[in-house]
């Protein structure tokens, strides 16, 4: 899986050059860390790659690192509060690649809906669950929670059993 993706990295470096902050490999596979603004550029380059075009954006995942330092006790916590992982897959050459971008709370991420149609709903989940806004998204509204729900449930500070005691008279 990762061998096919390696040559693509060289071509990506030539295309983006300085914008790529880091390329590392972990249990997930090859991860390319990129600045937040250059995510669409990276996706565009990967999509229109000559030999193995990454034509499917399988998934967008967000992680909230706010409790990371205190839970793991490590000193170095990730550079910003949220991180976005774009899970790209190339059907022709069966290669998988992750584009990673960090963003602070309240920062707007660029939308990828003009590149992939699957980004439309994927970004709506991330907005609904984490409150990360995507600039350029056609209709960014909540997908799971009701419209008038003011919180972002998957943020670490949101309690699992919810906030309105009236609705859940718990123990």
């Amino acid at each position: 899986m990762n061998q096919q993706a390696k040559p693509v990295i060289e071509r990506l470096k030539s295309a983006l050059g300085d914008k790529i902050q880091d390329v590392y490999e972990d249990a997930r596979g090859l991860v390319v860390r990129v600045g937040l603004e250059s995510v669409p550029a990276a996706l565009e380059a990967l999509r229109s790659d000559a030999s193995s075009p990454f034509d499917m954006l399988t998934d967008i995942t967000a992680v909230d690192w706010s409790r990371w330092a205190e839970e793991t006790g490590t000193k170095e916590s990730p550079p910003a509060r949220f991180s976005l992982y774009y899970n790209l897959y190339s059907i022709s050459s069966a290669a998988r690649l992750f584009v990673e971008a960090f963003l602070k709370d309240g920062q707007e991420a660029p939308s990828a809906t003009h590149l992939y149609a699957s980004a439309d709903w994927a970004e709506r989940i991330v907005f609904d669950m984490f409150g990360i806004r995507f600039s350029g998204h056609p209709d960014l509204r909540r997908i799971y929670m009701p419209e008038d729900f003011e919180y972002s449930p998957l943020r670490k500070e949101f309690p699992r059993r919810g906030v309105d005691p009236q609705d859940f008279p718990q123990e």
């Binding site: 972990d26 249990a27 997930r28 998934d59 995942t61 793991t72 059907i91 929670m145 699992r160």
Partner: protein
């Protein structure tokens, strides 16, 4: 209060002839939605002009719940994702965990997982084909497909003890070994029935004039659009793209069994159904080959961090007792800062699990890549411009499972 809806341009001149557009709510509690999803249609007569979907009626906050459960407990969450093919979810979840922990599963467990996954896949296709035919108006296939699913239930119950929510895999292997008589029970009872029902479905539906009229060319999607929408699984293969996680990235025992990937031509409802019928035959072939090569040996990896020690070790030595207590009470601990993504070929497509571990026995973040979610996002594209009667046929052929859709 009656909202004034914008009239379509082309009927401006024959104003009186053209009727107002009617907003029809095809709501959360409806027989043909197979679950809790809502489609708000703007109709002009019988033609669908605008289609807006609303989901989240079964959003149970599984990803938030997973942050409070241990790795072996989360198998219960994975049961309730795609509750028609539960075993594949269990295998998907624990395979991602094993990739995170860096554990190798013994061959017997790998083969048993493959066999039971294929049984679950056949059961899931039955729940898709049966009700889909009922929505189109053909009632008889429902009874045939449901009989086969009951046999799959019996098989799953025979091996795991539960009909639906099996929760049979653990980090490092399976909860228990398969009982004797499994091989004989599959080859003698289950497999002949699978082939018979598939041939019956073929003869019943493929040449049926009404069925062809209702499904051929309905809800078709081109290859490029399907990939752009993130489609995977039978729906994508019906569009002509031969992408199957079992073949592209062979996991479990799919490397040493040979099976071919059925690919449809037009990507319409007809192809989506018959790709699933053909896939059931391939699954039966996989089961046969895997059963013939089923090795003996332990079912769990002998990695101390993860697997319970043997009973005499527990009663014999204090370390065994402590080790047993630790595994049972707290479950295995993952390495700090490990992140992993692993995907299996679920019945509806690529079912992926992203896990971020913080060194404790609970994941820091668990994300499920649910195939139904991306398949359903393309519904407006499939349905706008078609007649209202095509909507149930298209939605049912996408096999939308609310548990997986709403996470």
């Amino acid at each position: 209060m009656k909202e004034a809806f914008p009239r379509s341009v082309e009927c401006e001149e024959k104003l009186d002839l053209c009727a107002e557009r009617m907003v029809l709510n095809w709501g959360p509690s409806h027989p043909a939605t197979h679950g809790t999803l809502r489609v708000i249609l703007t109709l002009e007569g019988e033609t669908i002009v605008k289609c807006d979907t609303e989901i989240g009626y079964l959003h149970r906050g599984l990803e938030k719940l997973a942050e409070d459960w241990t790795y072996n407990q989360i198998v219960n969450i994975s049961d309730r994702l795609n509750y028609c093919s539960v075993f594949i979810n269990n295998v998907g979840w624990h395979q991602a965990c094993e990739k995170l922990f860096g554990i190798q599963v013994p061959p017997r467990a790998t083969y048993l997982r493959t066999i039971m996954s294929e049984v679950a896949r056949i059961a899931d296709h039955m729940v898709c084909i049966g009700p889909n035919c009922v929505d189109i108006g053909v009632l008889t296939p429902f009874w045939y497909t449901w009989n086969l699913r009951e046999m799959a239930y019996d098989l799953l119950e025979f091996v795991t003890g539960a009909r639906m929510t099996t929760a049979f895999t653990r980090v490092g292997g399976l909860a228990a070994d398969a009982p004797e008589g499994l091989e004989e029970r599959i080859t003698k009872v289950f497999l002949p029935e699978v082939y018979r029902v598939m041939d019956e479905l073929d003869s019943l539906l493929s040449k049926n004039r009404i069925f062809n009229d209702r499904t051929r060319g309905v809800g078709a999607l081109s290859k490029e659009e399907a990939v752009s929408y993130g489609w995977t699984g039978p729906c994508l293969r019906a569009c002509g793209v031969a992408y199957d996680v079992r073949a592209a990235n062979p996991y479990l025992a799919y490397g040493d069994v040979d099976f071919d990937i059925p690919v449809g031509g037009h990507g319409d409802t007809y192809d989506r159904l018959f790709v699933r019928v053909e896939e059931c035959r391939q699954s039966a072939r996989i089961i046969e080959q895997a059963l013939s090569k089923l090795p003996d040996g332990p079912v769990n990896a002998d990695d101390k961090r993860v697997v319970l020690p043997r009973k005499d070790d527990v009663y014999g030595h204090i370390e065994g007792l402590i080790h047993h207590f630790e595994i049972v009470m707290f479950g295995p601990k993952a390495p700090v800062g490990a992140q992993c993504y692993d995907s299996v070929e679920g019945a509806n497509g690529e079912l992926g699990f992203t896990i971020v571990s913080n060194g404790t026995n609970k994941p820091y973040r668990m994300h499920v890549r649910s195939p139904c979610f991306y398949v359903f996002s393309a519904l407006p594209r499939l349905v706008v411009g078609r007649l209202l009667a095509d909507l149930p046929a298209v939605v049912a052929s996408l096999n939308i499972i609310a548990g997986e859709l709403d996470l």
